[in-house]
Amino acid sequence: MREAVTHAGASEPDHGAQRTGVKSDARDDAATTFARLFDANYDFVWATLRRLGVAAEGADDAAQKVFLVAARKLLDIEPHREKAFLYGAAMRIAADARYSSRRRGEIFAPLDDAAASPVGASPDDLLDQKRARELLDQILGSMDLAERSIFVLYEIEGMTMAEIADLHDIPQGTVASRLKRARETFERKVEVMQRRRLR
């Protein structure tokens, strides 16, 4: 906010009611900027948190934390890098949430060790959205984070490789190679799941 005040009031005397008005204007501007940022990105942030391992019941709070970070640093966020900023914050907060879950023993077991989960599930069960999401989360949770994050952005969020490269600030070639590995990993794990079903 300090910068907004400086910008808005650069040529004005910085005192009295005028100053208060400048502050108010700056706050209004910040609120407008934040509202725009929020409305454009909340769903993306929430979904990113979920796919990065934040439990459904914790996703709202985690998303709120992401946007409070954004509110705190609103004036420092580079133009056109808003999504990348939010994504980075979401990655960090998701990591914190995963760490907390692990400490509480809530983390999903790696798929290869999770013998019980898919076994015995009927096709109807697997078609059930909630069950399917649990299985999806389980598979994603067992993937390498670097691969998982790119896989999620491409396969679930529907982003292009160029957008993902921009978000991660890495070359497109790196995105392509990680995505290839991630897809192979994902499909292999789905196969494992199916084999267990048929056992």
Partner: protein
């Protein structure tokens, strides 16, 4: 060339990925987060208290107090040269002298924002300490930072959920001018009401209206007094 997306594939692979599309945020969570962010920018007790009150129906007091914690802590560096302690307690009553308002602003000329700040995202490293009212020697309490006060109230709320009101009472007694006193008072009123202790709830409601006439809880407090 981009490979075809797996979600378009038939079978379990496609079904699993498709399931993610139905996993969407709740409206309550979205509204709460939006209000929290705007409150952080507005940087005032009214905003945080409104959030606390407004979202209670949807999200529950537990999550809200946690939310309020983030709001309050996030609000500090954003506030427009306003001392957070004053902003958090919009009372007409005299306030303790604020401490070092400059401390709430991050250093000027800081590099571009990093979404991965050092340490926890919203640690209150720059939170100014809140000066408790002059205590008598027998009831002397250490000076708590805003973060610590929020933590205390959060602990009190958890204890309250277990039926233990002692931490809340201790906070109210120890920090009658504390940054979270208004919220604690409302929590106490709610607790008394839930237990059917109407006359005590009314007494506390009067106390809230007297100390915080412009509180977001004022209207609710008045309604309690009318019944």
């Amino acid at each position: 060339m981009m490979p075809p997306r797996l979600v378009e594939r038939r079978g379990l692979t496609g079904a699993l990925l498709e399931s993610a599309r139905a996993d969407v945020p709740s409206r309550e969570g979205r509204e709460r987060a939006r209000a929290a962010g705007l409150a952080a920018i507005g940087a005032g007790a009214g905003a945080s208290a409104a959030l606390l009150a407004g979202g209670a129906k949807a999200a529950g007091k537990s999550a809200l107090l946690l939310g309020a914690k983030w709001v309050v802590v996030a609000a500090i560096p954003i506030s427009v040269a306003t001392v957070s302690y004053v902003a958090l307690r919009p009372s007409e009553a005299p306030l303790p002298k604020p401490v070092a308002s400059a401390a709430v602003a991050p250093p000027s000329g800081s590099p571009s924002a990093s979404p991965l700040p050092d340490g926890p995202p919203l640690e209150a490293a720059a939170v100014p300490p809140v000066v408790a009212p002059a205590p008598s020697p027998s009831t002397q309490h250490k000076v708590l930072s805003l973060e610590e006060q929020i933590t205390e109230l959060d602990a009190a709320r958890h204890a309250l959920a277990r039926g233990d009101v002692s931490l809340l009472d201790r906070y109210l007694a120890a920090y009658p001018h504390g940054a979270m006193h208004e919220q604690a008072l409302w929590l106490k009123i709610s607790q008394l009401q839930e237990r059917g202790r109407t006359s005590e709830a009314k007494a506390r409601a009067r106390e809230l209206l007297s100390a915080y006439p412009r509180s977001s809880y004022a209207e609710k407090a008045r309604r309690i007094l009318e019944h």
